[in-house]
Each structure stands twice: as C-alpha cells, then as structure tokens.
Symmetry: C2
Subunit: 369 residues, 2 copies
C-alpha cells in the first residue's frame, strides 16, 4: 500500500524494528537513557534550548495540553485559524472556559500578518496567541516567521504554535522565532507511529504555566518536567512508539535537517506540478502551499468516496479525504516523512487512471427500495 | 531481562510481531475492521454489553476521562482509596472542581464494605462512587463484588471502577457487578505495550456523561462513541499499540478466560509462598492479596535502591519499588499477563542471592565532600 495520508506516515524498516522491541521498566536506568536521548534529538530538530516534554497522546492531546497549561478560565486569548486544526485550538480553549477571540481566514488561504497586527492593535487586550504552522486540513503553511514578528516582536504575547505537521519536515526554528509552546506529533515527519506528542516550553511559557488555572492532571506539563528530571514520565509512556520515535528522529538527524527540508520542498513542488499536469485544481493559495500535504479540489461530477475506493482497491494508493466542512469537496495527498518522488509519481498515475475509469463509467444507480 | 514490574508487562512474540507492522490509514476500511475486532474482544474480556471505547493514553488518562465525563464542578462524589491509584481518582476529581469526599483505608488493607455502607448511609448525599479494583501500589484486591452490592445494590449510585491492573487477569464481570464505567490499560494483563486505555460505559453511565459539565475535548467519551460508530477514533490512535492489543486480547481468549484467571491465581499464591519462604514479610492483608502484583516489605537494614541494582545488574531481574509514601519501604513483583511459575522461581532465587550478598557486605560509605 502506498500510504499517502498526512499522518500516520509509513515507517521505515529500522523504525518498525525498533517499535517491535520488548518492554522495559519505565522507572529504570535504561528508560532514563532512552528518554534522555530522544529528548535531545527532538530538541535538535525543534532547534530549541527550551524544555521539551513527550506526552502519551495524539497531537490533539498535546494541543489540549498547550491550552490548559497556559490559560485560566475567563482569560482572553486569540486563535488564528485557517482550518480544522486552528478551529480545534478554539474548541479546546472554549471548552475549558477561555474568552476566545478568533481571527479566521478562508480555507485555502494563509493568515495575513497585517490582519493579525490590526487585530492585536485595535482589539481588546489578550495574553496569548494560538496559531497553526501547517494546516493539515487545507494544505496551507502559514508564514510563521512573519506572524511571530508581529505577535512576539511587536506585541510581545505568549505564542503557542501547532507544529504537528510541520516540525521535522519544514523549517520551524522554535527559539529563533520565539515560540513559547511548540507542539508536534510522532506520526508526522518523524516517521514513527502515532501515539506520542511533544511540547516545547520556553521560560516565558513556564511563567504562563505557573499562572494558568485551567484544570489539568494527565496533561500537567509541570509534572512532566519534574518527572523528566528523574529520567521518567509522570504516567506510563507508550514505550513501543517511543522506541520508534527515537529511531525516526535519529534517521532525520543522520540525513541532516537541511537535506530533509530540501527533500520536502522538492517533493511538495513535484506533487503540485503532477497534480496540475492532470488538469486538477489545487485548493491552497500557491504562495502558501504546504510542502507536507497537498489539498486538491474534487473535480465536478466525481464522488470522492468512489475515487478513494478505486485508488485503494485497484491501485494500492491510500489518500485522505477532506475534513469537517471540506468533506467531499477536497482530497489530500500527504508527502511528509518517509517519502520519495517515485511514490508521488505512482500516486499521480493512479489518480489519472482512477479518474479516467470513473468518468468513463456511468455512476452506479441508487439501489431501489 | 526478567521484567516483573506491574506493567509494562513483557509482550509475547506474536504481540511484538503485530506491534511492528506497517501503518495504515486510520480513516479507512482496514482500520474500521481492526477497531471493530479489538473492541469486540475487549468487551468479551470485560464481560460487558456496554459501549467500550479505546483511548490513546496511559491508564491515568482514562481515569481522568472517567472523572471528567461523569461529574460537574461542585458535584459531590465519594472516592474509596486504599493507595496511590485511589488517591489519583481523588486528585483528578479535586483538580476539576468536584466536591470530593474520601473514604481511606490504611495501605495494605482492603476497602471494608460495611464502612462504605455507613459512609453512604450517614454522610451527605453523593452521586458517584470511585473505587480501585486492584490497587497496584499496595498489592491489594478490593472485594468489588461486595462493594458493588453496597454501592449499586443498596444505594444505587453511579459506580466508576479503576480496573487497570485487574481486568483481563482476575475476574471483573462488568455487567454482573453493575459497573457503570470500568477502566483498563493495554500494558497490564493484556500483554500489549503501554499507550492505550479502555473505558466501558453503561447506559446509566451515559446518563451521567450527558449531565456532566467538567470540561473535556481530548477525553470526550461521547466523541469517541460517535467516531466508533464510523469505525474510527476522534483523534489519530496509537496504531502499533492497537495492533499489539488486538493480538494480546486474542491470545487471552484463545487461552480461555477461566484458564487465564486460574493461572493468575496459582501464580499469585506461588509468589506469596516463595516470598514468605525467603523470610520476607508480605505487605498486603493476606485475605485481600492481589493475584497480579505482590508487595513486600523492604527488610530492615536493606536499601531498596541497592537491592534493585543488584537484582537488575547481577541477576537480570527487574522489580518495582514503592510509589509515593511507600517509596523505599516496600517493593513489588508484577505477575500479570505473560508470566509463568518458572519466571517467579527465578525472581525468588535472585532475591535470595541479592539479599545474601547485600547483607554480607558493609554498606558503601558516603563519599566525603
């Protein structure tokens, strides 16, 4: 199966071999070595000297951790949303009682730094800004450097970034861009299975944590930091996934992050070129097209479910549909982590053949009752 | 390494082979089949017709899910605690604003159903009772059938049970005992890696969920139920661990649950007999000794850290220390999941040799400054 959803991504053999290793005592010296090594490698990829904590959860769990550790009920925050994952930050912050102000941009477009400036200048005072770096649902990469220049540089807010599908695949220098909390997930560019998420916390971020009053136990980042100082996690960690994450992060560093970023940029451009060559329409603003996931409009008259089935069953290609409001109107090709140009070529051939077969055939009539 | 901590437990080879399998699309038909099969097998072991939801989290995450889905801030609940994990229920409920009434029993003893009756009869009205079935920190198994007879049978309260280290190893018939929410964890008797936790929810439990106002997004059980109806999870699940859990649960059902329970009862008795044969003191009330974990008093004059190191480095045996207030005063042998009598024999031999070597040697003098 050519698995090209934007996570889980395929795992290279050395990662799968690592994942299949036997359990160890998560309170013993062997584990302390393991988590120390993984944490150091993750920090190298995050380009940060901040604390970095590994949570046993999906990426959404780490988004929740980032919210409940930085806000108090009633506290005013700004969520910049360009899609489903920006909306998720807002959903979590609202559920836990924050006073959420939203700045939404149309699906397929990126956040506009000028609009953010205007919002922070003219709107009510807010403490914390949440922003998605790479919006997996629309295939848009926000210009985080420019956004941070406004949010941190001009207004000095606490900055929380969803880097789930960007960090490890496209540059996201956490310290250089002044990101107070940055979140990623093991099943993305890290080439490891899902089940672990990571959060880096700056000294400014820890001040927010100390002041934040939203309730938290499982996602208590201060508890995670305290446990890490003993070479542990507060709760039993997803060991197999951690073995895989260790190997995946090591593979990235062996390849070299500059080479990893170049590979993703080239494959992103290659994907967009092939898709347009098929006469399909890209969904994202080309100036902000993501190099980890490409969103494509479902052509008129084509049923995504039928296309997806043909791709899977006839061609062994697994792509992702649209999420939430974009369900049925776009589909997505994931090209992050363990991916090469040949695999994208195969996706394009399969798409071409599947679309031809679907458009040549009359649609299946609804079954009469 | 003879890993005998009370979780993570060693995984049999077929489980590790399953864990090492390649990723699949978690929104595709293959995943729907997988989660359907695992869920059915887990329900068979839980002995329940209730809904059963699989969360990507440690056991503590599922304890938090059980709390925040059944209570509202300010709501009065009763937590029955016989150790660290009972305390954790109380910690979570307090953190999220519940009015927590506690009924604590001394470490090493079990909860007394008569005391629970008195508490529910004479105390203020409460809605929900939280109880630990098997207390991993002290090696005590509460008489849950008798407790449920009081809590459900006499007082008709919502009953939430931490069965993390009991379900799949000792009988815990969820429907027969009227458990509204029952929690377990993949790294215990299920013989799978840590990273997944399961919660069953009765119709009465769903009524509590509908009324509960504590904030939740990642641990929203209603969202998990809705996703499961589509053969999915709301957030990307820990796939590798799920592969392992599927295989582990299938192995349990192949062995037959009666045989699994008999094996654990025999190995529990065998462990206690060997430990007492070495002249060591058991920590738990023998009438309520756990068949999944045995707690032992650290003999006078022995340093647990030194004993642990000798066991590990000289004999390849990994045991667990005491947790929280019991740190340094007890240690624990895990005997749940993939375990046989010979492995416990080796633990006993290693203990005998290690204690002999430690007591024969003078203690290492503190390094002078």
């Amino acid at each position: 199966m050519n698995l090209r959803v934007p996570g889980p991504t395929p795992c290279p053999d050395p990662v799968l071999e690592a994942v299949g290793q036997q359990m160890i005592n998560h309170r013993g010296p062997e584990f302390a070595q393991l988590i120390g090594r993984v944490t150091a490698d993750l920090k190298a990829v995050f380009e940060t000297e901040n604390d970095l904590l590994i949570l046993t959860a999906s990426g959404t769990g780490a988004l929740e951790a980032a919210v409940v550790n930085t806000l108090s009920p009633g506290e005013r925050c700004l969520v910049i949303s360009v899609g489903v994952f920006g909306d998720r930050f807002a959903q979590i912050a609202s559920a836990f009682g924050a006073d959420v102000r939203r700045l939404d941009f149309p699906h397929g477009t990126a956040a506009d730094p000028d609009a953010v400036r205007k919002c922070l200048r003219d709107g009510p005072a807010i403490s914390t800004v949440f922003v998605t770096h790479n919006e997996t649902s629309t295939g848009v990469t926000n210009d985080l450097e420019a956004l941070s220049g406004v949010i941190k540089g001009e207004f000095d807010k606490t900055l929380v970034v969803d880097g789930v599908s960007s960090i490890s695949s496209v540059p996201c220098p956490v310290d250089r861009w002044g990101i107070d909390l940055a979140v990623s997930g093991s099943q993305k560019g890290w080439m490891a299975p899902p089940g672990l998420a990571m959060v880096s916390v700056s000294p400014r971020g820890w001040k927010a944590v100390a002041a934040a009053k939203m309730p938290r136990v499982y996602f208590d980042l201060a508890a995670a930091k305290q446990a890490l100082e003993l070479g542990q996690t507060p709760w039993t960690p997803a060991l197999s996934t951690l073995y895989g994450l260790q190997r995946g992060a090591a593979l990235l560093l062996e390849e070299g992050m500059e080479a990893v970023y170049r590979r993703h940029a080239e494959i992103g451009a290659h994907t967009r070129q092939l898709v347009e060559g098929l006469g399909l329409d890209l969904f994202a603003d080309p100036r902000h097209a993501s190099n980890t996931v490409t969103a494509i409009k479902v052509p008129p008259g084509v049923d995504w479910k039928a296309l997806s089935r043909t791709l899977r069953e006839t061609h062994g290609v697994e792509l992702a549909g649209g999420q939430g409001p974009l369900s049925g109107t776009i589909f997505r090709i994931g090209h992050l982590g363990w991916v090469n140009a040949g695999e994208i070529d195969q996706v394009a051939s399969a798409l071409e053949a599947s679309l031809a077969s679907l458009q040549a055939l009359p649609s299946v009539p609804a079954r009469s009752s």
